[in-house]
């Protein structure tokens, strides 16, 4: 009896230790973006301006780990570039990177923590759900907070004037992408299927896609008979059999790329060969890399083209890939959210540089300058193309309609 209790305690303790190890690995870290820039800064004379702290919220553990780690890479590359170019009027950027684990509660706690650490701005959080709870806190405390990925409409509207979004919401993307897709393939009849468990995908399937299709004069053949699946589903056999019976000219897919890949495999298996259009959730480098010929001809919207020939994009990718290969060896190219996170850092830096501020300026002035920089942003030309900030804090970015062809995303004109 005593022995078994001891054993249990031993097991329990080792379990706790194991759990402790894994969580401490993903724990927070303070990190001056580049070790070399740090040594540069310390080599400067005594009166060198203090660093400017920028908080970063990304999921580095849990469901969004791979996405978060890649976003972190993009942010570090941008901070490196800024610091290597003399920083912000002499002040280096210092990143305080925190791991939300993709959890809303964590996003709240960490937003407070970052504000208490006197950051000038917060880049993040990653998910719409996190942004919905983190934005109000930063807005109340008067700290600029900018998500480069949250895609749910309306999040910034409720948190004026401090919250911004450097990403396009799906309604704006699809208004352009649906007609471009229909014209390209010469089709008019769509069947819609969507993920009812994922908040953004559900709004895509029930609002965004139907509006984009019908406003452009096309027809939805399963309007009264919604077809749905759930995040994590792998068995699409029943859905594809049903779709086959409906004879659609095209399929509009409201879901993320993981389920998209499972869906693609089943389409091929049952021999249903029709063009597929997705929302931004489907756009991912992994869709290309893992999908192969199963996803050939699929169309997705994006506000970044990874295969652009713009030298700034290619340069970014040259720096991105060697880092990404450490975390996701099968998927090393940046996606739109990584690219917009990169642009976000540069826009933050530009807002401060333009006002002639540095780390010695009062914190309030730094925060105010960043907010004003975002609020008035017009025709900023970054690696994601042209960016304007609208009155509600959302970005109006260039839309790329991308078709998968020979394992690459190619732009369709519109």
């Amino acid at each position: 009896m005593l022995k078994s209790v001891r054993l249990f305690i031993a097991v329990f303790v080792s379990l706790m230790l194991l759990a402790g190890c894994s969580s401490s690995e993903g724990g927070n870290q303070t990190n001056s973006a580049n070790p070399s820039s740090q040594s540069n800064a310390s080599a400067k004379p005594e009166d060198a301006p203090a660093p400017i702290k920028i908080g970063v919220l990304v999921p580095k553990t849990g469901k969004g780990k791979d996405w978060g780690l890649k976003t972190e890479i993009a942010i570090k590359i941008a901070a490196d570039e800024i610091n290597n170019n003399g920083g912000i009027n002499g002040s280096p950027l210092e990143l305080i990177i925190e791991d939300t684990g993709g959890k809303n509660e964590e996003a709240v706690t960490l937003t407070r923590e970052l504000i208490n650490k006197d950051v000038a701005a917060i880049a993040g959080p990653y998910f719409s759900g996190e942004a919905e709870v983190a934005f109000p806190i930063a807005n109340k405390e008067g700290v600029p907070i900018i998500s480069s990925s949250a895609a749910k409409p309306g999040i910034t509207d409720n948190n004026r004037p401090w919250a911004f979004r450097n990403a396009m919401t799906n309604d704006k993307l699809m208004a352009v992408t649906v007609p471009a897709f229909a014209k390209y393939y010469n089709i008019s009849k769509f069947a819609i299927i969507y993920d009812e468990k994922d908040a953004v995908s559900k709004s895509d399937g029930t609002v965004v896609l139907p509006e984009a299709i019908e406003n452009n004069g096309y027809e939805i053949i399963n309007k009264n008979e919604p077809i749905t699946f759930k995040t994590g589903d792998t068995d699409f056999s029943a859905i594809v059999t049903k779709l086959k019976g409906m004879n659609p000219e095209a399929i509009a897919f409201g879901g993320l790329y993981q389920e998209g890949l499972n869906f693609a495999k089943e389409l091929k298996r049952q021999g249903l060969h029709v063009p597929v259009i997705g929302t931004v959730g489907l756009f991912s480098m992994a869709l290309l890399e893992e999908g192969g010929e199963d996803v050939e001809g699929w169309v997705v919207p994006s506000f970044f083209n990874t295969f652009s020939k713009d030298p700034r994009v290619t340069q970014f990718i040259v720096r991105f890939e060697p880092e990404a290969v450490k975390y996701t060896p099968n998927s090393t190219l940046p996606d739109a959210f990584n690219a917009s996170a990169y642009d976000t850092m540069h826009i933050i830096a530009k807002s401060l540089t333009d006002k002639g501020l540095n780390g010695n300026s009062p914190l309030d002035e730094l925060r105010q300058a960043i907010r004003e920089g975002w609020e008035g942003l017009k025709d900023y030309n970054g690696i994601t193309g042209n960016t304007n900030i609208l009155e509600n804090g959302d970005a109006d970015k260039q839309v790329y309609v991308l078709k998968i062809e020979d394992g690459e995303y190619k732009e369709i004109p519109y």
Binding site: F8, L18, E25, T61, G62, A238, T241, N262, N330
Partner: protein, 295 residues
Amino acid sequence: MEFIQQLINGLMQGSLYALIAIGFTLIFGVVGMLNLAHAQAFMLAGYATYFMVMHTPLPLYLVFPFALVVSSIVGILVELICFRPISKQFHFAPLIATIALGIVISETVINFAGSDPKFISGDLTMSTYSFGGMIVSSSQILLLVITLTAMIVLSILIEKTKIGRAMRTLAESEKAAKLLGVPINKVVVLTFIISSVLAGIAGFLYTLRFETTSPLMGDIIGLKGMAVMMVGGLGSVYGAMVAGILMGLLEVLAISLPFGTAPFADAIVWGTMILVLLFRPSGIMGSSTVQTERV
């Protein structure tokens, strides 16, 4: 024709649920407790299959036993860590320990292999057969054949062999088993191995069928397996087989009926389960005595 194709779809998915549920019910029948790390044995077998297919030139008939070995190791670990050291009088301790071990396994996989699902690309082109408009792939045929074989072998094992008799004696009463000289520890470990081999078969077949594997793939299917076990009747292997296939068929039916019921597919499936349990609390094939003795 579409209807028959849907029946085939449901049958395939149902066999997977049945395989998982039998694993659950076997442990419950013999040890009287739930093993909530069962889904992780399924998941690791999936990863083992993915790894061997993508990174080694081994043929599938060698990948298969490897996946089973991996899942058996999980089963043995669960028994040694979560059940054996903990005294029988603490009902919840082993249960919680299996949840904890399951999380440790999942987190470890996420940290080493990443959170995103992995897809088997190109290397596994399995042929598809078409019968008068219906499509069946060789992975589906394999799924059906292996599942049926596993069920038959398991029935023979339980009904006709010495180890099966020992398992049944232990299920009836641990005291009686001890008196009869049944080597209890050995039988329990063997039960865990058989249970996780079944999960391993499911993991292998799932990965071949859907050409994908993910650290979370066991979560939903594990929950469904547990529900199938309840509906089939706690501790009833045959009940789990029947209920698993019924669940697969019901799911497909909810999606395929032309009444706009697809978004409610899960609600229909789980709602039906509540109905079954209301009218037959012991499950389709469970005897009421098993329930009262065990719970």
